[in-house]
């Protein structure tokens, strides 16, 4: 369950800050952008993962799909979130790569206890949800949650948010120019001026 302090900006920044800090030690931004653009191109061409193993990618994609499941609106799978993760973990989040691998190992040990020989990605959905509920306060889950949100909503150049699927889910339209009326409640005022 959500803790009150996680609602505050400060709490949130505390939760994600250490990651971003490590990120910067690993790289500088233009190099990251170049890598990200490469990732987007690779993703679109159906290329293999560069940082993640195929198994790790399947597990992370499964977690992301539990965070943003696919229903009548696009979810993490449609947005290609795991491609963002692959790109992020070898560039600006390289500092978190080991802890993500270790977190996945831990999760997979639990998965194997549920079903012999299974990895997380192979479990039926209700079992996945159970394991993640037990995990949701861990730093590992926090990292994957952050990457999932970023993979849904950051600029598509970073490898996720494919065809703006994340933005479409929110109803966010990315433009450089708007004019009034902006929304329902300011429409009368905008009308008066015309």
């Amino acid at each position: 369950m959500l803790k009150p302090q996680e609602l505050s900006r400060r709490g949130f920044l505390k939760a994600t800050g250490s990651l971003a800090g490590a990120a910067w030690a690993a790289s500088i931004w233009p190099a990251v952008l170049a890598a990200a653009q490469g990732a987007a191109a690779a993703r679109d061409a159906g290329a293999e993962f560069e940082q993640l193993t195929a198994e790790e990618a399947a597990d992370l994609a499964a977690i992301a799909a539990q965070i943003f499941p696919t229903d009548e609106l696009p979810g993490a799978n449609e947005a290609g979130v795991v491609y963002f993760m692959d790109s992020a973990l070898r560039s600006f989040m390289a500092g978190a790569a080991d802890s993500v691998s270790e977190g996945l190992d831990g999760l997979n040990r639990k998965a194997a206890a549920v079903q012999a020989g299974a990895r997380f990605s192979m479990l039926p959905a209700p079992e996945q949800v159970k394991l993640l509920k037990a995990e949701e306060d861990s730093p590992f889950f926090g990292t994957v949650h952050f990457m999932t949100v970023a993979g849904m909503f950051a600029l598509p150049a970073y490898g996720g948010n494919r065809n703006h699927q994340g933005w479409k889910m929110l109803g966010f339209e990315h433009r450089h120019f708007w004019q009034p009326p902006f929304g329902h409640y300011d429409t009368p005022a905008a009308g008066e001026k015309e």
């Binding site: 505050s8 800090g21 949650h145 889910m169 905008a190």
Partner: protein, 557 residues
């Protein structure tokens, strides 16, 4: 990173000959100071530790801008502790004293809310009496004295607005009409009127129409925390700095990080020492120095510039440098409505309520503030998904997604911004161990809101919740009121005053102890105002520049 916007250094002042003025910091105050002193005929070297970006460098990249400190500076290492008894710990992403590094300083990434102080702000102690354990005091200047400079800010940089029912007197109307009403503003207006309050246009340093050769706002929505790609935000990067450079008397040196202000045997400031863009140590001799580095960097620099004559730090004989830091108190409440607001479009605030501005002893605590409606952190998708989730919605899964998909276009926040009391323990000091990436002692922030500040925040949040209900929110919730560990308003750390015992600069911003050293930025504040300080920082800068130019011309520096 390459620096595509590097401006040709014209003129080039020789380092070993004293230039008329060295200004440290090119933000809200430094930009004004450079332009005013250069226009008055003086040679000016303007030092800025960050890069010289232009509008073309600014993007809608939320990940780099909001999460990876692209504008704040990823290597801005600082430490934070709540009280002097605690050991300060490194805090980054963002650091506790949060400001942008680059030409234009934090005026590049601010939201541009441009409230003036009121006459009462300057004389509040006389009106309300002393508050034990705090540095609560009157300013040495009055609103009337500052009013012409507020008006200059309006007209020189371009402020859009309209007068409100309880605004302080103004000598000239706003130069630009208000920005368009947003849905959040419309809802606030309706709710406040219903409750018998007096909603008014929020004045902003953003262009509602073309002005002074700059284009009007295009409402892209990437405003708070971002640099303006249209140049419509009235940062000093878009306004004062180009005008300073156009005089031919101001040399801007970007990526030059100052580490010491040197004093001679006569006790006067002699030169400013810095590392240039290639990391080489440099020293620029100066007839006078103006520090405009912000309420955290300015005291750090003074404390780093100790010498046999100033063993506690430059201009710090009375030990006041760095003390009495004020962040302004803040509260946040959220509401979700039946119809789309699309509040992610355009600027942050279009309407505000100032009915609770004055401190009212009947409330049982000191303080006052303003309330406004805006998207706040829900203005961009990632921040929305990470920060704007009500307590009864899970953080992942189908319910989370359903909430995000419903609420992103239907949400608004109601913010309370208000006073902070100056407490000596709240301070900027040098971290005894940690160094920044250049080897300077890291900024150590000690901060714990005064209990009255937290009472005020809770009071303004209660009013915000009433406004959300009256506006017809189908769901409303609060962010918890907690002590601040991050501040974007860095106020009061080198305060101005007539008494050299309890202030750092005099009413003309001259350091009491050093005749040719001036300090003009948020550190000059005596009280915190109600939460939107940049307008006042710039009015102080225009006023100070006039006095400093006069002193220089009369040989009084």
């Amino acid at each position: 990173m390459s620096d595509p916007a590097a401006v040709p250094a014209i003129p080039t002042f020789p380092a070993r000959q004293p230039v008329d003025f060295v200004i440290v910091g090119s933000g809200a105050a430094g930009g004004v100071m450079a332009r005013e002193l250069a226009r008055a005929g003086f040679g000016v070297v303007l030092l800025e530790q960050g890069p010289h970006r232009t509008a073309a460098n600014f993007t809608h990249d939320e990940l780099s801008t909001q999460f990876n400190n692209e504008l704040v500076g990823s290597d801005n290492v600082q430490t934070y502790r709540r009280t002097p008894k605690d050991t300060a710990k490194p805090q980054n992403s963002p650091p506790p004293a949060l400001y942008a590094q680059g030409v234009g300083g934090s005026s590049v990434h601010f939201s541009g809310n441009y409230w003036r102080l009121r006459p009462s702000d300057f004389k509040e102690k006389s009106k309300l009496g002393a508050i034990a354990g705090t540095g609560f005091d009157d300013w040495p200047i009055s609103y009337e004295e500052l009013e012409p400079y507020y008006t200059r800010v309006d007209w020189e940089i371009g402020v859009s607005g309209a007068p409100g029912p309880s605004d302080p007197p103004r000598s000239k109307p706003y130069p630009l009409p208000p920005m368009p009403l947003k849905s959040s503003g419309a809802l606030l207006e309706t709710a406040a009127t219903k409750l018998g309050l007096h909603p008014q246009v929020a004045p902003v340093a953003i262009l509602s129409q073309n002005y002074n050769g700059r284009a009007a706002c295009i409402h892209c929505g990437f405003c708070m925390g971002f640099g303006c790609e249209a140049g419509a935000k009235s940062s000093t990067l878009a306004t004062m700095i180009p005008e300073a450079l156009a005089t031919g008397r101001c040399e801007l040196r970007a990526r030059c990080a100052v580490y010491r202000v040197e004093t001679g045997k006569d006790g006067r400031v002699s030169e400013v020492q810095y590392w240039d863009e290639k990391g080489r140590p440099q020293a620029q001799k100066a007839k006078a120095v103006v520090l405009c580095a912000n309420g955290a960097e300015t005291p750090r620099l003074l404390l780093m510039s100790s010498s046999p004559k100033f063993p506690q730090g430059l201009a710090n004989g009375n030990g006041r440098v760095g003390k009495g830091l004020m962040f302004n108190s803040h509260s946040v409440a959220h509401g979700v409505f039946d119809q789309p607001l699309h509040d992610y479009k355009s600027i942050q605030c279009s309407r505000m309520v100032h009915d609770f501005y004055e401190s009212d002893p009947r409330r049982g605590f000191y303080g006052g503030g303003g309330i406004d409606a805006r998207p706040f952190l829900a203005h961009s998708p990632m921040l929305f998904a990470l920060t704007t989730v009500p307590p009864d919605v899970p953080r992942w899964g189908a319910e989370y997604k359903k909430y995000l998909a419903y609420a992103f276009t239907r949400h608004m926040a109601v913010l309370g911004s208000g006073t902070s009391l100056a407490v000596d323990a709240n301070s900027i000091t040098l971290d005894p161990k940690l160094k920044d990436s250049l080897g300077r002692p890291a900024i150590r922030v000690t901060y714990h809101d005064h209990p009255e500040d937290l009472k005020l925040a809770a009071f303004l949040q209660d009013r915000s919740m009433e406004l959300l209900q009256a506006a017809g929110a189908n769901k409303a919730w609060r962010d918890p009121i907690e002590p601040s560990s991050i501040g974007t308003h860095l106020l009061g750390t080198c305060r101005m005053g007539d008494d050299p015992k309890n202030s750092v600069v005099d009413r003309y911003h001259r350091a009491h102890e050093v005749k040719n050293l001036f300090i003009v930025d948020g550190s000059s504040f005596v009280t915190s105002g109600r939460g939107q300080p940049t307008m006042t920082i710039q009015a102080l800068a225009f006023r100070a520049a006039g006095h400093i130019a006069k002193f220089a011309k009369q040989g009084e520096i």
